[in-house]
């Protein structure tokens, strides 16, 4: 079964209730042909388990890595990915779009 926003946010609550460190990533802006619309969610726990998506799989790895730091220090951050970004050679969107993602702790 595909995970809907309902499942994703309910799972974030359940993970946190179970005492796991959890980060919530949300697409807050897109330019060009971005793979997932504004408002899309990805949740990540302290062990790197995740549910949902913020792109078609292109930048999830980088978001999950950043989420570990967010869970660790409790500070939210905004990440930007895309062809205009200097990280494009490492992590970018093959579709040519750009996205900004807010990664925040669930505390």
């Amino acid at each position: 079964m595909l995970s809907t926003d309902t499942d994703i946010l309910a799972t974030a609550e359940a993970w946190r209730e179970a005492g796991r460190g959890v980060a919530l990533a949300t697409v807050i802006e897109t330019w060009g042909s971005a793979p997932r619309p504004v408002g899309s969610h990805l949740i990540i726990d302290e062990e790197g388990n995740f549910l949902g998506s913020v792109s078609g799989g292109c930048v999830e790895g980088a978001v999950i890595a950043e989420a570990a730091d967010v869970i660790e220090d409790g500070q939210p951050r905004v990440l930007e990915f895309g062809v205009a970004d200097e990280t494009a050679w490492r992590v970018g969107l093959s579709c040519g779009g750009r996205i900004r993602v807010l990664v925040e702790p669930v505390a």
């Binding site: 595909l2 809907t4 926003d5 309902t6 946010l9 309910a10 974030a12 609550e13 946190r16 209730e17 919530l24 949300t26 807050i28 802006e29 504004v38 408002g39 500070q75 939210p76 905004v78 807010l102 925040e104 702790p105 669930v106 505390a107």
Partner: protein, 232 residues
């Protein structure tokens, strides 16, 4: 996000009430606004527009960059009639993330054996709808029994609640008689004109499963109206 805000968002979603989460992207601070509270909020006009469009996005207010997460109730499909078409339609609709409920007072039809893994209410529509969260703009209603005693009350309720899709099975002739009954029941021409009848996209569907595809495609077309390349 604070856990109590997340809990509140999940509670509101389960109750099918729209909310907007306002996040300051600079420091991550957040607050939740219910639709009923939007009018008195400092961001009233922006929030009202967002509740109408259902679209999340960033707004710049007095030098602050705020992200508005608009959470509208998940789209739902209420099917009147535990019939053969519904048996094909229910799992297909669930696969597209619609929340499906089947209503049919005929207990020979509305059995868990015929409808595994779907919410099933073996009641008359008036009684069944009273047990569910109220019909709303995020709900589609498909009336598939062919029986005016069962279909009509559900159609009237769906049109009054401004459901985003209202469809009814039956030939043009059957629909002609339906229009007369609904007019007599006090519905306007405009309201009645919203009913998709004969139900389903015109793909020449023959079998129950094919008709289910044509109905589901029509529901999705109504749900995604603003993204379509050609107007309906």
């Amino acid at each position: 996000m604070k856990l109590d805000i997340l809990r509140e968002m999940n509670r509101e979603r389960a109750a099918r009430r729209a909310v907007i989460l306002v996040t300051d992207t600079a420091d991550g601070s957040q607050r939740l606004v219910r639709e009923a509270e939007a009018d008195t909020d400092p961001l009233a006009s922006e929030l009202s527009a967002r509740f109408r469009s259902g679209k999340s996005g960033v707004v710049e207010v007095e030098g602050q960059s705020l992200f508005l997460t608009v959470q509208v109730p998940p789209p739902r499909l209420v099917v009147i009639g535990a019939v053969h078409i519904s048996q094909a339609l229910a799992p297909m609709a669930q696969a597209t993330d619609l929340d499906v409920t089947i209503i049919d007072p005929r207990t020979a039809f509305a059995t868990p054996e015929r409808f595994p893994a779907v919410a099933l209410l073996p009641l008359w529509p008036e009684d069944a709808l009273a047990q569910l969260p109220p019909l709303d703009r995020y709900t589609a209603v498909a009336a598939l029994t062919h029986d005016p005693k069962i279909d009509d009350p559900a159609l009237v309720a769906a049109l009054k609640a401004e459901c985003f899709y209202v469809g009814a099975l039956g030939s043009r002739k059957t629909h002609g008689r339906r229009v007369e009954r609904l007019t007599a029941a006090g519905l306007s021409e405009q309201q009645i004109g919203r009913i998709a009848a004969p139900i389903g996209l015109d793909i020449g569907a023959v079998s129950p499963a094919e008709i289910a595809v044509s109905v589901l495609a029509q529901v999705i077309a109504a749900l995604r109206q603003d993204r379509r390349r050609a107007p309906a």
